[in-house]
């Protein structure tokens, strides 16, 4: 066994350039295949998440049609503040369940960027976001209406993304580079994602994010505008939102209209299908060429060296010695390629598919090499391949 191991390693060393090129070919194939699988699963995940959200009842969001110039005017005009306050009050008084989700902020800590996502307390349940936190945490996410200054003086409760589980402890109070304090009240599970209809093609990962409660400063027009467009209304009765539309019309404030998830879902699905067809066509071609490449390479690995194997058998190698060498080289090539894929993608569903594919390749190789090496007598191998 040790002798065979030593000889196999030496044999690979004799052909190191060729082995390296074959290894690169397999690594590229596996990584590309993994990427394609991952993309498909991401698209699938997007669809599932949106369908989960829209599963129980319709969800309405406000579509923003305002120009940047109009925004600037609205934000800087203090005379309009009372109008925004009125719309915000109407929204809060509406007897319709709503989710608030605003992902437009970020901060830095130790010069590392952290995405801040401000949410209402029902965000976790509605978006199926799980993690290591107690239900009491949700009370920390009650809607706040503090001034920006007051809010900055608060210690913000934070449910931190998975990446921070080894950096901070539960209950720890930390400070970002701007002096804002945060108290860690929970951590999310690994690879927690969400999607918004407006950004339908993207699956947003929360591993590096801080989730904080929503705060509305009713003296800040910009803040109130952000709040308005961060609301998602859960209702099958669109008439229940008529008060918001009516108030906005009367005040002649914002150019907006209600859109529902069903429409968004159609848009998302069409968009997703287009992407999947594009990716799928490209992916199928790549996958076919990759598999052909790997299979041909494996067959060539044995066929090219059949003469060498026959001479080794002439000199005293038995079938087991040669078979071990072939198996060892193949396992090294394919096994190390699988490890590289793991380094890129981690233990994901896409990577597990690659493990299965590599297992099938190895099984095929073992059977093929066994049959090929057994098929001819030593002397015929030398004659045919010499």
């Amino acid at each position: 066994m040790i002798r065979n191991l030593r000889f196999s390693i030496e044999a690979m060393g004799d052909k190191k350039i060729e082995m390296f090129l074959r290894w690169v070919q397999i690594v590229i194939s596996f990584v590309c295949l993994c990427f394609i699988f991952q993309t498909f699963y991401d698209f699938q995940s997007i669809n599932e998440k949106i369908e989960y959200l829209a599963g129980t009842s319709e969800i309405y969001v406000l579509r923003d049609l305002n120009t940047d110039a109009w925004y600037e005017e609205l934000c800087n005009n203090d005379e309009l503040t009372w109008k925004f306050q009125k719309i915000v009050d109407v929204i809060n008084q509406t007897e319709v369940e709503k989710i608030v989700l605003n992902n437009n902020y970020e901060t830095t800590k130790d010069q590392q960027s952290i995405e801040l996502i401000s949410v209402s307390k029902n965000f976790f349940e509605k978006y199926g976001v799980n993690g290591n936190f107690e239900e009491e945490v949700f009370s920390d996410f009650e809607l706040r209406t503090l001034s920006n200054e007051e809010w900055s003086n608060e210690i913000w409760p934070v449910v931190a993304g998975y990446n921070y589980t080894h950096s901070y402890d539960l209950g720890e109070v930390i400070q970002d580079d701007y002096g804002q304090k945060y108290k860690i009240v929970g951590f999310l599970s690994k690879n927690t994602t969400y999607t918004l209809p407006m950004q339908s093609k993207d699956l947003e990962c929360l591993d590096a994010a801080f989730i904080i409660p929503v705060n509305i400063d009713k003296n800040d027009n910009g803040n109130m505008i952000e709040y308005i467009f961060s609301c998602q209304f859960i209702t099958d009765q669109k008439e229940a939102l008529s008060s918001i539309e009516k108030t906005n019309r009367e005040l002649q404030l914002l150019d907006m209209y209600f859109d529902n998830y069903t429409n968004q879902l159609e848009y998302v699905k069409n968009d997703t299908i287009e992407c999947m067809v594009l990716f799928g066509s490209f992916g199928v071609v790549l996958m076919v060429f990759s598999m052909i490449g790997i299979v041909c390479m494996i067959i060539q690995l044995i066929a090219n060296y059949e003469y060498e194997y026959a001479i080794n058998m002439l000199c005293g190698a038995n079938f087991g010695d040669i078979y071990f060498r072939v198996v060892f080289q193949s396992v090294c090539l394919i096994g190390s390629s699988v490890l590289i894929s793991f380094a890129f993608f981690g233990n994901t569903k896409a990577f597990r598919n690659i493990v299965v594919i590599s297992g099938v390749c190895l099984a095929g190789l073992f059977i093929f090499s066994f049959l090929k090496l057994k098929s001819e007598t030593i002397i015929n191998k030398i004659r045919i391949n010499g």
Partner: protein, 229 residues
Amino acid sequence: MKWMKNIELRNITKKYGKGENKTCALNKVNIGIDEGEMVAIMGTSGSGKTTLLNIIGTIDSWTEGEYYLKGKNIRDYSEKEKAVLRNQVFGFVVQDFALVPHYKVEKNVELPLYYTKYSKKKRKEKTDHVLERLHLINKKHCYPAELSGGQKQRIAIARALVNEAEILLCDEPTGALDSKTTKEIMDIFVMLNRSGKTIIIVTHDMEVAKYCRRLVKIEDGNIIEDVYK
């Protein structure tokens, strides 16, 4: 029956193919070869001489008959044990040299020693010894493609000898060589025979056969002549 010869083949028959396409390469061949003999097996192309040699070297199978090596029936050997025979008892020299093209000379000669328990140092010693004996020590870092036909054949002979094989099986060892090189190679075989090696040479060349003390003629799978000079 007492087995007195080192190599005893009794009623060996070898058939190829199936049904109506069956070809008989050897037909009830009986031959015994003693230790230290130098035997030439002659015949035309397709006569069965190479098949006979390959059966002796356990690199080909046979259909019927018994083959005894040093009194033990070869059928009693497992595949692993036959591999050990090829490593320790037999040395092969074939017409196209059978050298691994991407191994250097040193590694080609050392190949049989990889399947022994010798240390790396011991393997190197034995390889260098046999290369010196055949005046090839200065070629040990060359590839086979860089050598002449005669040098390649001497490398093949060195490989056959490196593990001190008792029996050399040579299939047309001079077939690809000119007359001068042929003489050189045959002189090596004669020298090895004088040192006690058993040498069996398959050839169609009478000039090569003249170096051997025993001539076995084979035709259509049958031995038609077996004479000692």
